[in-house]
């Protein structure tokens, strides 16, 4: 369910972030050891949280269709796996994706001059409207990092409010592009602005900038979500994206969500992975758990 925006937040109300302590805490999640049934459950859960993504200049309608087939049924031999939560494409490919998935899973579209965000708000809002009209029910927007870093936080707030309005019924995921925000305190502040402006999800990265998602930066955002929920009663979703390419890392993210936000966030409604190559590693690990044998990359189709 979408919400009306809250007033522009007060930065002084946010706790500062200690980089050393934060990174230590994030590293602790990596020492959790998932075995047997716990591992299997988490692997299967991770598949259902995937935003299966293709964002290339070379994308074709055929490629998008193939990806949609993969997202709907990731492992043709085992219908109990998946489907993924959504497919995520450029606006021009939304129509093809929407036809292919036919309402069975979500269609997300990046918009607002992804990935740079370097365009006037007018054109960026128009892009959202176009994507929604083509059939997207989720919009992944990027904020204007330059404006944010120049100190115009209120401008970012207004920009997100405008995008949210343009989304209509579609869910809005706000990409902070944390790799360009320089400090964890900035990530915390940008998260707060996005949530108050009405973001349904906050998302780390476009995947086009390095570093993309990391455990510490995701931890900052999860704690922001937790504190926002505590204060307003509103749940906001989280989507780390970029750089999560293997199952082991994905499970570490899930452990972190479980320990910071609790099991109520462990559904595709509130947590997503933005990834393209993660799907097959999850499938390999699931089959390894089932058969006891390691699988080759070539055992699963790419698209």
């Amino acid at each position: 369910m979408s919400h009306a925006p809250l007033p522009f937040p007060d930065r002084r109300s946010l706790p500062p972030i200690d980089q050393v302590g934060l990174e230590e805490r994030a590293a602790r999640f990596c020492t959790r050891s998932l075995k047997k049934e716990t591992k299997m459950e988490a692997l299967r859960l991770a598949v259902t949280m995937l935003d299966v993504t293709t964002l290339e200049g070379a994308d074709t309608v055929e490629k998008v269709r193939q990806m949609c087939a993969k997202a709907l049924r990731p492992d043709p031999r085992d219908p109990s796996i998946g489907p993924a939560a959504a497919v995520c494409v450029y606006p021009r490919m939304v129509k093809a994706a929407a036809e292919a998935v036919a309402g069975r899973i979500h269609v997300a579209s990046v918009a607002t001059q992804f990935p740079s965000g370097q365009m006037r708000l007018k054109e960026r809002v128009a892009e959202i409207r176009y994507a929604v009209k083509e059939g997207a029910d989720e919009i992944d927007m990027v904020i204007s990092r330059g404006q944010f870093l120049q100190g115009d936080a209120r401008g970012i707030y207004k920009e997100i409010v405008a995008c949210k309005e343009a989304c209509g019924e579609a869910h809005l995921k706000v990409i902070l592009e944390t790799g360009e925000l320089a400090t964890y305190d900035n990530v915390r502040w940008a998260s707060e602005i996005a949530m108050c402006a009405g973001a349904d999800f906050i998302k780390t990265s476009t995947g086009k900038v390095s570093p993309a998602a990391t455990l510490p930066v995701t931890l900052v955002m999860l704690q922001a979500i937790e504190e926002f929920h505590e204060r307003t009663g509103r749940m906001v979703g989280m989507k780390p994206a970029g750089g999560i390419s293997n199952a082991k890392l994905a499970l570490q993210y899930l452990v972190m969500v479980r320990e910071v936000l609790g099991a109520s966030w462990l559904t595709p409604d509130w947590f997503r992975f933005g990834a393209s190559s993660l799907t097959n590693d999850l499938l390999r690990q699931i089959r390894k758990q089932e058969t006891g044998r390691y699988q080759m990359a070539g055992d699963f189709s790419k698209d």
């Binding site: 050393v20 302590g21 049934e37 459950e41």
Partner: protein, 482 residues
């Protein structure tokens, strides 16, 4: 859903394998490079299961005499004469062997003492090796450690160590002693003797000359015999304040050098401008590290009143994610209480907290049926006069008080007979330095807690002891200066 369901918060068992470790059924004393048959014996148990792991010796007068004699002989004949560079080689070799056998030592430490494998593997044993490496480096550079003075070795050192960090405390004691040219008689704690005995085996493999390090096991009486032995030149003790006081009385007038590292009741002060989520981690690490069996544990939490409610709520939420159980499971955060006696003491003090009117809260952790366990616990509404605020509990129990001004926080923090450690949490550097300097404690952590490093001196004021261990200051305790 099963207990191991990911969505319900469980973990399937992930035990560290104990197949590769080698523990004998029975151990003797390591004296003069030989295993000398013990005349009396006691058992050591696994506190997580109460199963007997091995029998160890209970040293009496005869064995202590033999050990001190062997140490004296090694001091006069070999170690006291050896060049620093040669001593350093032995220490480097020991450090490397510890690294090679790290996994085995970690597993045994967790079996014998109850601490989670995550800590013994990631903290204790790496620090053990680090202490030997660090002091190996000093061995041939001692003359530079004390500008204008000439250091010389002391002689035979009697060392009595506690059960909370068995091998780490052995390293803290042995490494500087050997680096400075002294020989050692070490008595590990009665409930956790095994890793010290494994260390003795390792020293044999390292080819350390016979008698340079001797390991005798036993209880309090054995320790007393060692400390009071007339041919011991220096006593180093880590343990309870009560025993520390008795040792200080017994060495008075004997001319023996001594260092004592005793109890504590550290204040952890969180200001409203602190990085709160990281402070919560620091509080957890401060009091629940090693089941709270830590002399420098942050057992008194002072929170500025404006953030008290939200901080306690965050803390409770975090505590609910702590996994209590099998110390050998890789997901365990809180292992077993070290002994039945310690569990009894924790329970007694917690009961006292209830009776005195403090408000108790504990996590919903399910405790195993066998073994010694205690749930992570905190008290709010504590008064300075409560026993749970004044006395060292040495368990996973936190006493929380609030304060309004920095002055009040400092006053309350210093209002204790102890003075081992303290913590300050604020994002404002000037405040951290001001408050940190005002805390009367040997170690003060800023925006972190329970961090240890061989280069950093550790020790306390008042009833927390005398002398420092680690760093250049620690070397000073093992040399005579002229």
């Amino acid at each position: 859903m099963s207990n191991h369901s990911f969505l319900s918060g469980g973990f399937a068992p992930a035990p560290e394998s104990a197949d590769h470790i080698d523990i004998k059924q029975s151990y003797d004393h390591f004296i003069g490079g030989k295993w000398v048959k013990a005349s009396a014996r006691r058992t050591t148990i696994n506190p997580a299961t109460e199963a007997v792991i091995a029998e160890v010796g209970e040293a009496g007068k005869r064995e202590i005499n033999a050990a001190v004699k062997a140490a004296r002989k090694a001091y006069d004949g070999v170690w006291g004469q050896m060049s620093g560079a040669e001593r350093g080689k032995y220490l480097y070799r020991i450090a490397r062997l510890i690294q090679e056998r790290a996994r085995e030592l970690a597993v045994i430490e967790s079996m014998d003492g109850g601490k989670p494998i995550r800590e013994s593997r990631d903290i204790d044993i790496p620090l053990v090796a680090a202490h030997f490496f660090y002091h190996a480096g000093w061995a041939d550079k001692l003359e530079y450690a004390f500008p204008g003075r000439t250091p010389s070795s002391i002689g035979v050192v009697g060392q009595v160590i506690p059960w909370n960090f068995p091998l780490l405390m052995a390293a803290w004691k042995i490494a500087p002693a050997l680096a400075c040219g002294n020989t050692v008689v070490l008595k590990p704690a009665e409930t956790t003797p095994l890793t010290a005995l494994k260390l003795a085996e390792l020293l044999e493999d390292a080819g350390l000359p016979p008698g340079v390090v001797n390991v005798v096991t036993g209880g309090g009486e054995t320790g007393k015999l060692l400390v009071e032995h007339p041919d011991v030149d220096k006593v180093a003790f880590t343990g309870s304040t009560e025993v520390g006081k008795a040792i200080r009385r017994s060495v008075a007038g004997t001319g023996k050098r001594f260092t004592l590292e005793l109890g504590g009741k550290a204040a952890n002060i969180v200001f409203e401008d602190a990085a709160l989520n990281q402070a919560v981690e620091g509080i957890v690490n401060g009091i629940f590290f090693n089941q709270g069996h830590v002399c420098c544990a942050g057992s008194r939490l002072f929170v500025q009143e404006s953030i008290a409610d939200s901080l306690v709520r965050k803390l409770q939420k975090r505590m609910e994610t702590l996994v209590v159980g099998d110390p050998l499971d890789k997901n365990t955060d809180i292992g077993a209480i070290n002994s039945k006696e310690q569990l009894t003491r924790i329970k007694e003090l917690v009961k006292c907290g209830d009776e005195e009117g403090a408000c108790r809260w504990e996590t919903g952790a399910k405790l195993p049926r066998k073994g010694f366990w205690f749930k992570p616990t905190l008290f709010t509404d504590c008064a300075q006069s409560h026993r749970i605020v004044q006395e060292e509990i040495f368990g996973p129990v936190l006493a929380i008080q609030t304060f309004r001004t920095p002055k009040e926080a400092i006053e309350k923090a210093n209002n204790t007979p102890y003075g081992l450690s303290g913590g300050v949490w604020s994002d404002k550097g000037s405040k951290v330095f001001k408050v940190g300097s005002a805390l009367r404690a040997g170690v003060v952590w800023a925006n972190t807690f329970n961090k240890f490093d061989p280069t950093s001196p550790f020790g306390g004021y008042q009833e927390s002891g005398i002398g420092r261990e680690g760093g250049v200051h620690g070397l000073g305790a093992y040399v005579n200066l002229s």
